[in-house]
Symmetry: C2
Subunit: 336 residues, 2 copies
């Protein structure tokens, strides 16, 4: 049986929000693996805010997706055929496999994952890039000390929810900023955050003052824009702001809004530092083992928002930017 692949290839550089017409949805033959290659049947695809940035032209921390190229995405799948000594048919793997049904890639780009340790979608969430981003961004860049206050925006998202839970594990006060009562209740009632602020219905500055009576020592920023500016007014001396993302700005067609309160860094001898998870690749194993332990002990919980159907990709991706997703957004492509 000759397998047929379906793929989303980038067709245009988006202006503002991504549209279906920014992609071509194509059928293509599946390439048989050559030496050291592995043919993977993709089961779950990770949808992440960073993907919007990869679609833009120009210098960034990673090359842009080229027009005509399969849209870049992390994914988990099952090995159908392997010509790499490390992998065997039937094993599960993760890697940057793209928005498609099948991928034929060099085995060195794959990592084995174990469905007995955690359900497969968790390898795109707490045990995948979002979890690694939270772990290294908070611990290595934010450097929270026990008793300090950690604020995180996008707190119900894949990265933010892990940031707040690690902050709690490390003995900090964790305050999350998220959109809507349902997400805020989830943060405090299920994940154990000390407080949650609904930016859609609350005066964020007033609520920050109330929920961070000792000020803000670490701010893990996923959103940028007005929220970053407001948190800047509440930081403590020597505070650390981790710049992980700026989802409020990614679709802006009128330029990025810079933080007008940045001089709070000066007054407070504070810092604002960018982080890219790929820099920590050599330490993913270390973090993964610790996170798996926390998952097992119940100290760390994850929630995946799973949407079925490869062909829904462009519209499903938009859920990230409207704030509609609740938990790590994952596209389910096939059953194992």
């Amino acid at each position: 049986m000759a397998l047929r692949n379906h793929q989303f290839r980038q067709a245009a550089r988006p202006v503002g929000a991504v549209k279906r017409s920014d992609f071509d949805y194509v059928e293509a033959p599946v390439r048989a693996p050559g030496d050291n290659e592995v043919l993977v049947k993709i089961l779950y695809i990770s949808l992440d805010p960073a993907m919007r940035g990869w679609m833009n032209e120009g210098k960034s921390y990673i090359a842009p997706v080229q027009l005509g190229e399969v849209m870049r995405a992390g994914a988990v799948g099952k090995v159908l055929e392997s010509k790499h000594p490390k992998f065997s048919t039937g094993e599960f793997v993760s890697g940057t496999l793209g928005v498609q049904e099948y991928a034929t890639v060099d085995g060195k780009l794959l990592t084995k994952v174990d469905p007995d340790v955690a359900p497969l979608p968790v390898y795109l969430s707490a045990l995948g890039m979002p979890g690694m981003t939270a772990y290294f961004g908070l611990l290595d860049v934010g450097k929270p000390q026990p008793g300090q206050t950690v604020v995180v925006s996008g707190a119900a998202g894949a990265v933010g929810s892990v940031v707040g839970q690690i902050a709690k594990i490390k003995g900090c006060r964790a305050v999350g900023i998220a959109g809507g009562k349902q997400k805020c209740d989830y943060l405090t009632q299920t994940l154990g955050f000390d407080a949650a602020i609904d930016y859609k219905s609350e005066d964020v500055k007033k609520s920050l003052r109330e929920h961070c009576p000792q000020g803000v020592d670490v701010y893990f920023d996923n959103v940028g824009g007005d929220i970053l500016d407001i948190v800047l007014t509440q930081i403590n001396r020597n505070a650390r702001i981790v710049i992980c993302g700026a989802i409020s700005q990614y679709n802006s067609t009128s330029g990025v809004k810079g933080p007008s309160n940045y001089l709070s860094l000066l007054v407070n001898r504070a810092s604002m530092t960018g982080m890219i998870v790929f820099d920590y690749a050599a330490r993913y194993g270390e973090a993964g083992r610790e996170m798996a332990g926390w998952l097992k002990s119940g100290q760390l919980q994850t929630r995946e928002d799973i949407v079925e159907g490869l062909e829904t990709f462009p519209e499903t991706l938009l859920k990230l930017f409207s704030g509609e997703n609740f938990g790590k957004l994952v596209l389910k492509v096939a059953d194992a």
Copy 2:
């Protein structure tokens, strides 16, 4: 003979640029020193951009000057009478003595200075707060490595000129941004900067590209605004931006302009960190000794822009914001 003091007291919170009417110029009796106090005849007063911030109401790294209070300023003077065991008549001292002719202060707030080591105004410049700011801001926050490129704005000013010279001493490439050909020539021809960019007549981005062929590793920012935004486009991975000041923004009545290119911090895993020189007070001695050595060896040069007459204070202060001063701006109040 009963001495009469003349003082500038803050009379109003300035809106935009400082005006003479923001002060009262008053005559007052000179208070005789009590136990542990010293009466100082002020000779030179330091005029610094930070003074503008001290005049504003509201929380900052230091309490605002209260209305009716003598305007805060660093100064150098001569001891007229001492009831503190550490000081004797005729000695020279520095301290936060205010914009006035005489100050009666607790001896513990004074530091002895030696006119045989350097001319008195230099104790308000390279051997004073500006020099300490440059030293600790560059070395402790900027952490330049030999061979790296250091860019500094306000480069012909009291802080910036020292930053660039220390960068050279530490084996870095030093590029200064200043206003006007005269200042730029001074940087390259007298102070040994590798290059200078005249922001008034050049395309700063283009010139940065040309003069920083290896990109920017450390940016020491004294000005904020558009220059900060432009430098952000040229930083290297792991670059350090030292936020020392933002003189372009201090008189703004329409709010501060935030750096819209701040996401360059993310892409480049770079940091932006505020610094306040007072945090390094315990190490001023260490820095002062090293800087005095560099002054003696000729590796470090200073230039003071000395204006005579206490009564010119409000207008002289404005030279800082118009970019008119050339070197450390000092108000000469009296002869020793």
